[in-house]
């Protein structure tokens, strides 16, 4: 039985409830081989804290809607391996809806990932 766990910090803020300051909440999730950041966040949402707001769609690195900021760097959460002590924040420069979820709107098409999408 694997009892290894991972601990990391997740940004929480609900502008809809007039929260002006964000805070970091620490979560612990079980480790498994190949676990990605998105797996960890979805584990929290389904098993630990139903209220966590997190967005994803395709799960295979194509849609880019699961992008967020990890330790200061914008990444796709479905791609990045989950590690201890990660600090996870919403992607900057978009309006925050709640926690890790932003409103992409028109700006999505000019995002960092959109620009490089077909440069393969």
């Amino acid at each position: 039985m694997n009892d290894r766990t991972l601990r990391f910090k997740v940004y929480r803020r609900d502008p809809g409830a007039r929260e002006t300051e964000g805070r970091f909440q620490e979560y612990t999730v079980p480790w498994w081989e190949g676990i990605k950041l998105l797996d960890g966040l979805r584990y929290i949402q389904e098993e630990v804290d139903y209220s966590l707001a997190v967005r994803w769609s395709c799960r295979i690195e194509d849609c880019r809607t699961c992008q967020m900021r990890v330790n200061g760097k914008v990444v796709l959460s479905c791609q990045v391996p989950l590690e201890d002590n990660m600090v996870v924040e919403p992607v900057p420069r978009y309006r925050l809806i709640r926690d890790l979820v932003v409103e992409f709107g028109e700006k999505m098409e000019s995002s960092e990932y959109a620009k490089n999408e077909f440069e393969i």
Binding site: G16, D49, S51, S57, E61, D62, T65, E117, F118, I120
Partner: protein
């Protein structure tokens, strides 16, 4: 809710979904003069299954190909129960649709050869001609990119983060939809003369780890349309497909695992192995081996795993280790068309420590594409006046098994037909009267969850998880009467008892996934019921529908489709009708399975 606080948005045509079908539909509805509005529950232009389409989009554009051949292959590949009127229409319109799409990307949407024509590659098994148009392994994203350009150019309005919660129908005619704005938690009424449902399939009814679709394709729109009175067809046909199951790898879903099967230079050297290292496809389809159709490949893998010959993550192995290195490098690297190619399949595999040329890839079976959906006529209108269906939401287009590469073709081509027809319908009709009572009832249904009337109770998230496991265990790739009946009992109990006692404990009104689950779950449970019920009705095995208690294909009795609809009392009724035939007589071709001549 008082009318003062009611947010109302009006349009001629509401399109639900912004993937391939929804975008095509909206562009063509706008082009035909309608006031259109696209609603997407996720991120606009980034949601739905189109973006997950890796590789091929079929169309009869080759010199040796004709729409008639494409039509014929599709009918035979679908075990002769696709609606031939719909297949004819899409095979005929597909070339024109792709030329138009290519133009929207300034002639660069899809790959060309040195003569400036579409670069054609072999599609997966079942096609008799080389007819796959592509953009490396980014065909789906590339198509969405071109659609987005045209949507921007034509200024088609859209709203994102809108979860459509019900269809409004008055006197047999569609009056619009209701929706929840995830950004604000506000309830919105969308009034329209026509609604096009292009919200994807229902593969999301199976557990996340065992489906390949995008999260928006949750299967609730089918139940929603059923509840509103729409008739459903072919709900038993769910395509389970070989898909990689190695948790380290996220960028490969199904393309690579199906890819070698139809590339001659790989097929020659590649193998499908079980955990005992034994090649097993000969047991299931000796003549074609892994060039067989997807339904047989999937069942073979499933059988090996169930028999205890599976890999650690519940699959078998695709072994490409004896494929020459230059072939691997060409197919998974250079083929994608780049220079340094950091994002190619090969490079991305290397980045997670997986070496395709040394290690076999674990390949399991996942729910991929759903052939069932709303019954439509050739104008894509459902059995409710003014309600159209396009893309995977629509049923009956592929019969019992979808050929690889036909999904993109179907959703794009019939999406544009739906847009044209809905615009024509809207131009000669007026808005029907506003069903105020239904709107109020729907509003109450939604806000009830946030009022926390139940002090205790399980979360709807738990019920959904259980539902998905039951879909895999009892309404999965191999079915029987006992399991299907048990599943039907469970769905009824979950909807009528468990969900009534459930509680949404999380209080935020914006982007509350638990609340959204509660809202769509009754519709999802209805869709589950429709799949199980249709599977129970079809007492044979055909294509994607396998019954271990009725193992044979029964062409004498079952060249038919199963239709399901809701009766006035709320229960489900079913009937079978002979398949719609135009020019290919099933009796003449049913034993003919096309061989690929490469």
């Amino acid at each position: 809710m008082s009318s003062k606080t009611l947010h109302i948005v009006e349009a001629d045509v509401i399109v639900v979904g912004s993937g391939g079908a929804g975008s095509e539909a909206a562009i063509h509805a706008k082009q035909n003069g309608a006031k259109v509005l696209i609603l997407d529950r996720g991120t606009f232009g980034r949601s739905g299954a189109t973006i997950t389409a890796g590789h091929t989009c079929t169309a009869a554009v080759g010199d040796d190909d004709t729409p008639e051949l494409h039509f014929r292959d599709t009918v035979i590949g679908g075990y002769c129960i696709a609606d031939q009127r719909l297949v004819e229409l899409y095979a005929r319109e597909a070339p024109e649709c792709l030329y138009e799409l290519d133009g929207w990307g300034d002639g660069k949407t899809l790959r060309k050869n040195e003569n400036g024509k579409f670069d054609l590659v072999w599609p997966p098994g079942g096609h008799s001609r080389k007819r796959s148009v592509h953009y490396g392994f980014l065909t789906g994203p590339r198509i969405l990119w071109a659609l987005r350009r045209e949507i921007d150019r034509k200024r088609v309005p859209w709203m994102e983060n809108i979860l459509v919660t019900s269809l409004l129908v008055e006197g047999g005619r569609v009056a619009g939809v209701t929706g929840l704005d995830w950004k604000t938690g506000k309830f919105i009424v969308f009034k329209s003369k026509a609604v096009i449902l292009a919200a994807g399939g229902f593969a999301g009814l199976w557990p996340s780890r065992l489906n390949t679709t995008a999260v928006e394709c949750a299967g609730d729109v089918h139940g929603m349309a059923f509840e509103a009175g729409a008739e459903m067809v072919d709900m038993e046909f769910v395509q389970f497909i070989p898909a990689q199951v190695d948790p380290r790898i996220t960028h490969i879903n199904v393309t690579l695992t199906n890819f070698p099967a139809w590339r001659p230079n790989i097929r020659e050297h590649g193998k499908f192995l079980n955990a005992e290292g034994m090649e097993f496809m000969g047991k299931y389809d000796d003549a074609r081996r892994w060039n067989t159709t997807r339904d047989i490949l999937a069942l073979a893998i499933y059988n090996e795993v169930t028999a205890g010959r599976g890999s650690p993550h519940g699959g078998c192995y695709i072994d490409l280790t004896s494929v020459p290195k230059d072939v691997i490098d060409y197919e998974f690297n250079k083929f994608q068309g780049g220079k340094s190619i950091p994002k190619s399949y090969l490079r991305r595999c290397e980045s997670v420590g997986f070496d395709l040329s040394r290690e076999p890839m674990e390949t399991g079976v996942k729910a991929h594409f759903t052939g069932g959906g709303l019954r439509t006529s050739v104008d894509m209108m459902s059995t409710i006046e003014g309600l159209y269906a396009a893309g995977e939401t629509q049923g009956g287009v592929h019969g019992a098994n979808r050929l690889g590469g036909n999904a993109l073709t179907h959703v794009l081509t019939l999406g544009r037909v739906a847009g044209r027809e809905a615009a024509a319908f809207a131009s000669k009709t007026s808005h029907v009267s506003f069903p105020k009572k239904k709107v109020d009832a729907e509003h109450r249904r939604i806000v009830r969850w946030m009022e926390n009337k139940n002090k205790t109770g399980e979360s709807p998230v738990r019920i959904r998880q259980r539902m998905q496991e039951i879909m895999w265990q009892k309404v999965g790739i191999l079915r029987n009467e006992k399991d299907l009946k048990a599943a039907l009992d469970w769905f009824a109990e979950a909807k009528n008892e468990r969900l009534q006692k459930a509680r949404v404990g999380s209080s935020p009104r914006t982007f509350n996934l638990e609340w959204a689950t509660a809202i769509i779950l009754p519709h999802q449970l209805d869709t589950c019921m429709l799949v199980a019920r249709a599977a129970l009705e079809r007492t044979e095995s055909r294509g994607n529908h396998h019954r271990d208690d009725c193992q044979a294909i029964d062409n004498e009795h079952w060249l038919k489709n199963v239709y399901l609809w809701r009766t006035g009392t709320g229960s489900v009724s079913s009937r079978t009708e002979p398949v719609h035939v135009t020019t290919v007589d099933p009796k003449g071709v049913i034993d003919e399975r096309p061989d690929i001549t490469v």
